[in-house]
Each structure stands twice: as C-alpha cells, then as structure tokens.
C-alpha cells in the first residue's frame, strides 16, 4: 500500500507554544481523508507543513516519501487550496488558468476550462466579482489542473451556502473518481464528511486524538447504556472515551476490543459523527473543569 502522507513525531512551534506536537499519522494513497478539530487545533498548521510552506520544528513529514520543505521536486505532486480560497481578485478565471500554465510544469488547462465551462463560470469577469461558491470552484479547478496526486483543502466549504457547498462537494467527488487523487480536507461539517470521507484524522489541542480508516474506527466504537458505572473494567471494552452519568445511569462511548456481553449494558452502534464528537468533547470538558478549578 502506497503512503501519500506520513508524519512521525511531527511538531511545529510558534514562539513558546506548540501548534502541533507529537503528530504521527499515515494516509494511504487513494483515500479521501477528513481533518477535523476545533479552531486552533493545528489543522491549518498540519496542511501548511504538508505543502512545504512551514518547516517542522520536530519530527518529519513526508509526501510520497519526500519532505516537501527540503525537496521542492515533490511540490508538483501536491495541490493546495488555502482557507477562504485566496485568488488574485482582479484576474479573470481565464487569466488564472493561463497564469497557472506559466507557473507549473505540469498543467492541464483543457481540464480546467472544461470544468469551469460545465459549471457555467463566466471566464471574463474578475474573480473578485464572482460569488463565493463560484470562487471556490475556480480555486478547485486550478488546483486540479496541476493533476496533483495529493490534494489538500483547508476548510473548502466553510464559507459557502448549502447549495454551493453541495455543488463543490459534487465536483470534488466527481473529479476524484476520475483522477484517483488522494484528498485531505479540513472541515467542521461532520455530516458532509460522513458521506465523502473514508479516512479520518481528529486533531485537538495540537495533538492527534484519533486517526484511521472510517469503517475501522466506526466498527471499533460502541455506546453503552447501563446502571451507574463505578469504573470497573467491562469485558470487551478497551477504553472509555467519554462518559456521562446521572445518579443511577451511565452512558459510555467506548473503544471495544471484543464483544461486550455483559447483560448490564445495552450496546448501541455509533456513527462517525458520534465518534468524532466524543473525542473532541472529552478534552473540552477536562480543560474547562481544570480552568474553573472544580472536580471533573
């Protein structure tokens, strides 16, 4: 299995604080991966490291085996759309396609024109005058014209209305099906991710909390409902990710390593969204309790 993106003990520091720390992950080629986490978790930092815009302060990051910061030869393999799709706003879409051809060794201008034509994007209007959805489509078309093997998208749909968001995801899924590009996209919109992504990276407070194939992750977690839990180990449960209690009942989201047969617990399957929320909420709660100096 070819690895598109691999990080080992990766770290990046701004001043004294770590934006990313001890980050280890592997993204197999051909996957569509979701990068999720709250604001400030380190998502953009990870993407900037992957595209060689930042230099790691610790550990390594490799794209198809090469370090993107030290080895610009790998850059043609990477397409990157930064947050809020920055484009030269006074240029028209047609001019941007032409410009891309001058600045990239590998450039499929026909692909970009085809795509923008099908979407009905006006070619001779400055992109600053286009709608947010159209601008996002232009940025995606330009990134795809590089024919990248790894496509990195930082919050590509965050600022789009629901219709533009759906159209963006439609063109992304359609083009990925054709090109077999590996995709890593950061997003807050968990419902979209459940349909589009088959790989997951959860970042929280500068660290990787969870990563792997979505099917495996969903299969490895369950929700248990039962009488108030006193912390005793439950057969089949590898770890309790999140627990909430009333005076007589406990609800646990757990990682399992075998069947949970204890009759005291009712076992429910979980979805991707449940799993992600459990890993994010876990930390948020812990932090707040300690900040307010009250017991968890």
């Amino acid at each position: 299995m070819e690895i598109a993106l691999e990080a080992e003990q990766l770290g990046k520091r701004y001043g004294k604080s770590w934006a990313l720390r001890d980050c280890s992950l592997r993204l197999p080629a051909g996957r569509i991966a979701a990068l999720v986490g709250p604001n400030g978790a380190g998502k953009s930092t990870l993407l900037h490291l992957a595209v060689g815009l930042l230099k790691p302060d610790a550990g390594t990051i490799r794209v198809f085996g090469q370090s993107p910061y030290d080895n610009p030869a790998v850059l043609p393999e990477i397409g990157f759309v930064a947050q809020d799709t920055p484009l030269y706003r006074d240029f028209t879409a047609a001019e941007l396609v032409h410009l891309g051809g001058r600045m990239n060794r590998r450039w499929d201008a026909a692909l970009a024109r085809d795509r923008l034509g099908q979407l009905g994007i006006p070619p001779r209007l400055p992109v600053g005058k286009l709608s947010g959805g159209q601008r996002a489509q232009v940025a995606l078309a330009l990134a795809l014209a590089k024919r990248p093997r790894l496509l990195l998208l930082d919050e590509p749909v965050a600022s789009l209305d629901p219709l533009a968001r759906r159209e963006f995801l439609q063109s992304l899924m359609g083009s990925v099906a054709e090109s077999e590009t590996t995709v890593l996209l950061s997003s807050h919109l968990l419902a979209d991710l459940e349909r589009t992504c088959d790989h997951l990276i959860v970042l929280n407070a500068a660290q990787v909390r969870l990563t792997g194939a979505v099917d495996d992750l969903v299969a490895a977690h369950r929700q248990l409902v039962g009488p108030r839990h006193d912390g005793r180990p439950v057969g089949g449960v590898a770890a309790v990710v999140r627990a909430s209690h009333t005076d007589r009942q406990s609800t646990l989201l757990v990682r399992v390593d075998g069947p949970v047969n204890d009759p005291a617990w009712t076992v429910h399957d979980v979805g991707l969204e449940d799993v992600v929320l459990a890993y994010l909420a876990d930390d948020a709660q812990q932090n707040r309790h300690s900040e307010w100096e009250v017991p968890a």
Binding site: M173, G174, V176, A177, E178, D192, R195, T196, D198
Partner: protein, 138 residues
C-alpha cells in the same frame, strides 16, 4: 439506466443503500441482464459521495454474481433477481387493489390494513412452514 437516491436520515450504510436499490430494481424487473449501472464517477458526483463507496457497492454485487465489471467500459447486470413470479405480479396486484378497496369500504384505516396484512402474512407463512415440516417428517 437507474438513478440512485440516498436517504440521509437512514442509519443504513451508504454502500448498503446502493446495493439495496440495485437489488430492488432487479426484483421488479427494472434492471435486466446486459443493462449498465451508472458510472462510478457519475454516482459519486450526483450524490456527492466518496467514489470508493460506490466501488465498494459494485464490488459486493460482483461477488454475489449479480453484476460484472468490464474494465474501461462499466458495470453490467449479469443475472436477475426477478423469479418466475414477476409475470404473476400484475394479476396478484390487481386482486390486492380490489381487496384494499373492500377493506377501506368496510371501515379499515390504512394502519388497520397494514396490520391485518402483516399478521395474516406471518400466520400464513408459519402455517406453510409447519406444513412443509410435516410433509418431510412423513
């Protein structure tokens, strides 16, 4: 050619939903051997879903022997799920429609009709099964 639709609120896995729709279309004769399934790219784009999900569904159907993938061309139906019963369905349906009208005229609400059909079907199938066993025992 069929078009897939997804039930966003359903807990059923996306790829399972695609499989179920193909099988349903095969059962009612909407798809027959030789028909082509929509291209992976088109399904991924129109539903905005991961192309790997579509591939997974098509692969599963291939393992079951229902479809075959022809590299570079597409995925085609190999065999049907519509049994010989398909021919009889129109006639049975007509009788059922007449019966539903009678049930409504007798004052049954739609829920009553459904409940009656379900309980009757359960009872009839159980009777059928036990009769089968007696025959075998003899």
């Amino acid at each position: 050619m069929i078009e897939f639709v997804l039930d966003g609120r359903s807990k059923v896995n996306t790829y399972v939903q695609l499989i179920q729709q193909v099988k349903q279309a095969l059962r009612v004769g909407l798809l027959t051997p030789g028909d082509q399934l929509p291209k992976v790219r088109d399904v991924a784009q129109s539903l905005a879903i991961n192309p790997n999900t579509v591939l997974k569904a098509y692969r599963e159907l291939e393992i079951e022997g229902l479809v075959e993938g022809r590299p570079g061309v597409g995925t085609f139906i190999r065999r049907t799920l519509a049994g010989p019963s398909l021919a009889n369905q129109a006639e049975l349906r007509e009788e059922l429609v007449a019966w539903v009208h009678r049930a409504r005229a007798a004052g049954l609400a739609p829920e009553d009709v459904t409940a009656l059909v379900e309980t009757t079907m359960r009872a009839a199938l159980a009777a059928e099964a036990s009769r089968g066993e007696t025959v075998r025992a003899e």
